[in-house]
Amino acid sequence: MIQLEHLAKRYGATLAVDDLSLEVKEAELLVLLGASGCGKTTTLKMINRLVEPSAGRVRIGGRDAAEIPPATLRRRIGYCFQQIGLFPHMTVAENIAVTPQLLGWEEVRVGQRVEELLALVELEPALFRERYPHELSGGQQQRVGIARALAAEPEVLLMDEPFGSLDPPTRDRLQQRFQSIRAQLRITTIFVTHDMVEALLLGDRIAVLEGGRLLQVGSPRELLRAPADSTVASLMETPRRQAERVDALLCDEEAGRDDGGSA
């Protein structure tokens, strides 16, 4: 569905993305994983031409993205990012309706679509349609953000750390909700994160980036079993090590309580 061919982006003397080639299959969710500054966001933005590549090519459904006018291209690609960026002067319904309206959908169809999407992201339409972004919690705002990205029935969804600024319980709930939405829609998605757990839980495949270069790409299982190098290996081990430490903490506590009980 999406091919990145020898993609590169240069800012002055620094190479933000260096000769990156990747393929994303139909209905797959590919995670771009790496520390901040690894080039994952730049890569994502080159797909919808928010950033123009210095070299290489992006193909979407076989067509060269560079040949499609940026605005036209972006209306076919859902885009969702950490700062959410809901338009503060528009209601929830108007925010969601933006892209369909740009595409010239009929009013009735737009209205129906807004209802559908609010239901999909579990916001009661009657309650939320007419509200303004500042009246919503962070989690509610990001759900509207996702609804806006999905509104025009895009063939591709780009997500740049969409849950990054949310508190852990909210993030957990939204991740689960998002997975079920994806299961319904089967939309091709590229998902940028630096959170290893999020990558493992959501990704069909994970591409690990460092210094603008691709270190390894594969399913979570492949990456866990056969890391290409020590960087990938230590990255993959982090959640397990953390889980073990949490386990250990629990065991200690239980041991402590047992001790107390026998005294």
């Binding site: 291209l73 990012f81 959410i84 960026g85 338009f87 503060p88 933006v98 025009a152």
Partner: protein
């Protein structure tokens, strides 16, 4: 007061016509320009710089500058494009006010657009908006409150500054203020100031409501504010159309400078012309002195009263001081006709010249009758003069010829000068010989025994176009030759300045006593 209120509809309408159009043009020019320069960083600083420089020009000077500027532009457009620009009146005032309104709107447009969160710009691009859609759907709506703040500032400035357009010949609420200050009619000053302030507040509140309605999406507020604004514009346009339609035969325009005598004489001439010739007239008061002469020459006004010595010094640029009123008058007459085609229809019979005055009793005690007598005693006396006097050539000539060495010299406002002399705060003042306060405060005019000060005969000037089109006008005005002497003019001025009567009323009284 009643008389002042009667003038309000005309002045307020003219003021509204100036302010509303200036603001509309200002907004229509500044908002797109502001948007354009946010797209071109290099240009932004230059454009804002120019706007700031315009803003630093004192508003009165900016208005006054438009007159010669338009005259120069008009000199090119008239033969080349067949467009005759009027260099006094509405147009120069409108241009100056529009320029003045632009800076705040430009600044806030730039600030508003640049203040939009970059996250929202990226979101707008991300959802697939083109640059134009982003501007119209995201940037402008978000910048609106900031831009409106600039429009509101411009509104208050423009309504305030429009009061200064009176001296360039545009009627406004400033007519109250300029003539009121000169004739010591503080009721007029209050009416003018209060009306201008009320208009500023009204327009500001309409703009504010409009923005509030748009931002809060309150249809009722939008409709109400938009209706109020549209109503004002329609009223201004209708008044303009009515004025144009009613005009019929063009009117004879009589100008006046900014002091009492001129207000009285302009009203007198208007009344006289209507009575004697049946021509319709209008009076354009409180114009600047050079503005008046240029306007007479170009035909934008038809008649006004000037003084032979003023023409001698400022138009003919003569520094010598000839002997005799008649000679100066004749030379001025010949010069004006030859160089400008302007005709002196009549010398009214009095002079309004610079003269030195003392308290009558004081002068009598010291035995001072003439300036030569004064010179001998000047070392022990103090002199006061208006702001202009001590830098004028007349003063230099007086000092050099008579050898004055006053103990002290003080500049003061001309309206306070006579009071200061009467109260013995200064011994000698520079007076205008027809000022009513000379008699009222028992002052004595000292004789210029060596004839240093050029004569200042009051002369009725008629512009070249009217000379050609209305010979009967010149004839009728000719019958005013010698109609007023110095004492008569002093009395008329006194009636306005000290007794608080309106110039038009005093003029009417005089007109009744003048027979054909």
């Amino acid at each position: 007061m009643k008389e002042q209120i009667a003038l309000l509809p005309a002045y307020l309408t003219a003021h509204l016509q100036l302010s509303l159009v200036a603001l509309l043009v200002g907004c229509v020019a500044s908002v797109p320009l502001g948007i354009w320069i946010t797209r071109r960083k290099g240009v932004a600083q230059a454009v804002l710089g120019v706007a700031s420089v315009i803003q630093t020009i004192p508003s009165l000077a900016l208005l006054a500058l438009m007159v010669p500027l338009l005259a120069i532009v008009g000199a090119f457009t008239a033969p080349a494009l067949g467009i005759e620009l009027r260099s006094i009146g509405y147009l120069p005032a409108l241009i100056a006010l529009t320029l003045y309104s632009m800076l705040p709107i430009l600044q806030t447009t730039v600030a508003g657009i640049e203040g939009v969160d970059p996250v929202l710009i990226e979101a707008a691009r991300g959802v697939g908006m083109t640059d134009r859609q982003r501007l119209l759907r995201v940037e402008l709506p978000l910048a609106l409150p900031v831009i409106v703040a600039g429009v509101r500032t411009a509104t208050v400035w423009v309504v305030g500054m429009a009061t200064l357009s009176t001296p360039v010949g545009a009627t406004s609420l400033g007519n109250y203020i300029f003539s009121g200050l000169q004739t010591r009619n503080f009721a007029a000053v209050c009416v003018g100031s209060f009306a201008a302030a009320a208009l500023a507040i009204l327009l500001d509140q309409i703009v504010r409501s409009l923005e509030l309605g748009v931002r809060r999406r309150r249809r009722r507020i939008i409709v109400f504010a938009a209706a109020a604004l549209t109503g004002l514009y329609l009223y201004a346009a209708a008044a303009f159309a009515w004025e144009q339609g009613r005009g019929g035969a063009p009117r004879v325009t009589i100008g006046s400078k900014t002091f009492t005598e001129q207000y009285i004489l302009s009203e007198l001439l208007a009344g006289w012309i209507e009575r004697e010739t049946g021509l319709r007239t209008r009076v354009l008061q409180s114009l600047g002195s050079t503005v008046l002469f240029d306007a007479l020459h170009s035909g934008e006004i038809d008649v006004y009263v000037d003084y032979s010595g003023t023409v001698w010094a400022t138009i003919m640029k003569r520094t010598d001081s000839p002997e005799g009123r008649e000679r100066v008058l004749n030379e001025v007459r010949v010069f004006l006709e030859r160089e400008y085609g302007i005709v002196i229809a009549a010398a009214l019979g009095f002079e309004n010249r610079y003269a030195l005055a003392m308290r009558d009793a004081h002068a009598g005690r010291l035995g001072i009758e003439s300036l030569s007598d004064l010179a001998a005693l000047s070392g022990s006396l103090e002199i006061g003069g208006d702001y202009e006097f001590f830098v004028r050539p007349e003063w230099t000539a007086l000092r050099e010829t008579y050898g004055f060495v006053f103990q002290d010299q003080r500049s003061m406002d001309s309206s306070l000068m006579y009071q200061a002399a009467a109260a013995a705060e200064v011994d000698v003042i520079s007076a205008f010989s027809t000022d009513g306060r000379i008699a009222a405060f028992e002052l004595r005019l000292l004789e210029d025994d060596r004839e240093v000060i050029p004569p200042y005969d009051a002369i009725v000037l008629v512009g070249p176009r009217s000379v050609r089109d209305h010979p009967e006008l010149v004839q009728a005005l000719g019958r005013l030759e010698g109609a007023l002497d110095e004492r008569a003019m002093q009395k008329l001025n006194y009636a306005v300045d000290t007794q608080g009567r309106a110039p038009s009323e005093v003029a009417r009284g005089l007109l009744g006593s003048l027979n054909k």
